[in-house]
């Protein structure tokens, strides 16, 4: 299991690296277009008083990965507990989260299971579309996400981030602003860019969680193997002791039996 997780982890890491250039360029483009659009307005940037939130919980589909899922579920519960004034509905990505929330009878607005086996950008697009739709329909006022961030092979960190509304874009004053020729009006470009931005954010989060899951499983399985080895050692020792004791006892019996016959 450890070896399997390790090879999957390597692939997941490669995918994160593959997705990074796109995410980076997308960010840069968003910012530069936003800076050129007077009042960059888009329904996805609209801030409104938050009464209803959608909490996206990214867990794994499978267990055997230590506290990976438990930590997330606990974080999600405490999020709900901390915001008693909010109407929080949950979107569970991953089987483990869905099962846990079902058992607890929490307010599940949606679910996606078996997502991570063949994770692909089109999945992220579907999810992003759902999120943006419920935001623009005003059935929620904010979308937050809880996921495990891949920090290193040994550490994952539970993170809570706000997906929607998109945080107001800071235009970098210090940087030299390029005066672009716009083939389409900036406003139109911006309108096309914003949903894209959500998609890549969702994709990045899913990849991050996937890598973290494999890392967690790898360490969990490594620990399990070590524990089992220790257990085997101590059990072998006990077995040998008992066997020795039994043999000694038998010898004593034989010897004392022979003595008695003399």
């Amino acid at each position: 299991m450890k070896v399997v997780a390790a090879s999957r982890l390597r692939r997941a890491q490669e995918r994160i690296f593959g997705a990074r250039p796109y995410a980076r360029e997308m960010m840069a483009l968003m910012e530069s277009v936003a800076a050129h659009t007077p009042e960059p307005y888009h329904p996805l940037l609209e801030q409104r008083p938050v009464k209803k939130t959608l909490l996206v919980v990214v867990t794994a589909d499978r267990g055997l990965c230590g506290a990976f899922n438990a930590n997330l579920i606990r974080a999600a519960e405490s999020y709900v507990g901390q915001h008693p004034d909010l109407d929080v509905s949950l979107l569970a990505l991953g089987r483990k989260g869905r099962d846990a929330f079902r058992r607890r009878g929490m307010n599940l607005a949606g679910e996606r299971v078996n997502l991570f086996r063949n994770l692909d950008f089109s999945h992220a697009q579907e999810i992003a579309r759902e999120l943006t739709e419920s935001y623009t329909r005003r059935s929620v006022d904010a979308v937050d996400v809880i996921y495990n961030e891949f920090k290193s092979i040994l550490t994952q960190r539970v993170r809570i981030e706000r997906f929607l509304p998109i945080a107001p874009l800071r235009s970098q004053a210090g940087e030299l602003m390029v005066d672009y020729i716009y083939e389409q009006p900036p406003r139109e470009l911006f309108r096309a860019l914003a949903p894209r931005y959500v998609e890549i954010e969702v994709y990045r989060t899913l990849l991050e969680s996937q890598a973290a899951e494999h890392a967690a499983r790898m360490t969990a399985m490594d620990a399990a193997t070590n524990n089992a080895d220790e257990l085997i050692d101590s059990l072998t020792l006990t077995l040998n002791r008992l066997r020795q004791a039994a043999i000694t006892k038998e010898i004593i019996e034989v010897v004392s039996g022979a003595d008695a016959l003399r």
């Binding site: 360029e25 997308m26 083939e183």
Partner: protein, 142 residues
């Protein structure tokens, strides 16, 4: 006070999954939403949305074609950055599959009376299929 214009363009084509190309090229042709754009070194900064089509770039000796579906392109005097939804090299294109997709989309578009039909989607699918087929053809004819 004219700065020397760059003689090459640094081209980067990235998709959400990978970086398809990062090369120094002589010229780039971009399938923009409002028509194809030819870009030579020293082009004025420009931003455009892409539409399905063939992106091509020329290195010293050869021309490379890529089928892109949708995305954005940013042009700077010495750089071109293409953020594409998908970008495929001709050898990666499954021509049979693209032909099938084209047929399917065309058939759908014939029954315009069908209320179930998502016209916009069918049209998009058709344009993507055509972009792939044409890219594959271009590459063969060179």
């Amino acid at each position: 006070m004219t700065e020397a214009l760059p003689t090459e363009i640094e081209l980067a084509v990235v998709t959400p999954d990978r970086q398809v190309a990062r090369e120094r090229v002589k010229s780039v042709t971009i399938p923009g939403k409002s028509g194809y754009l030819g870009v030579l070194p020293g082009h004025a900064p420009l931003l455009t949305e892409l539409s399905p089509g063939t992106l091509s770039y020329s290195e010293t000796s050869k021309t490379v074609f890529l089928a892109v579906t949708w995305g954005f392109a940013e042009v700077l005097p010495g750089h071109v950055i293409v953020l594409a939804n998908t970008a495929e090299r001709p050898e990666e294109i499954d021509l049979a599959r693209a032909e099938r997709a084209k047929q399917r989309a065309e058939e759908r578009l014939k029954n315009l009376s069908d209320p179930e039909l998502d016209q916009e989607r069918a049209r998009e699918a058709l344009r993507r299929a055509i972009a792939r087929i044409e890219t594959a053809r271009h590459a063969k004819s060179v």
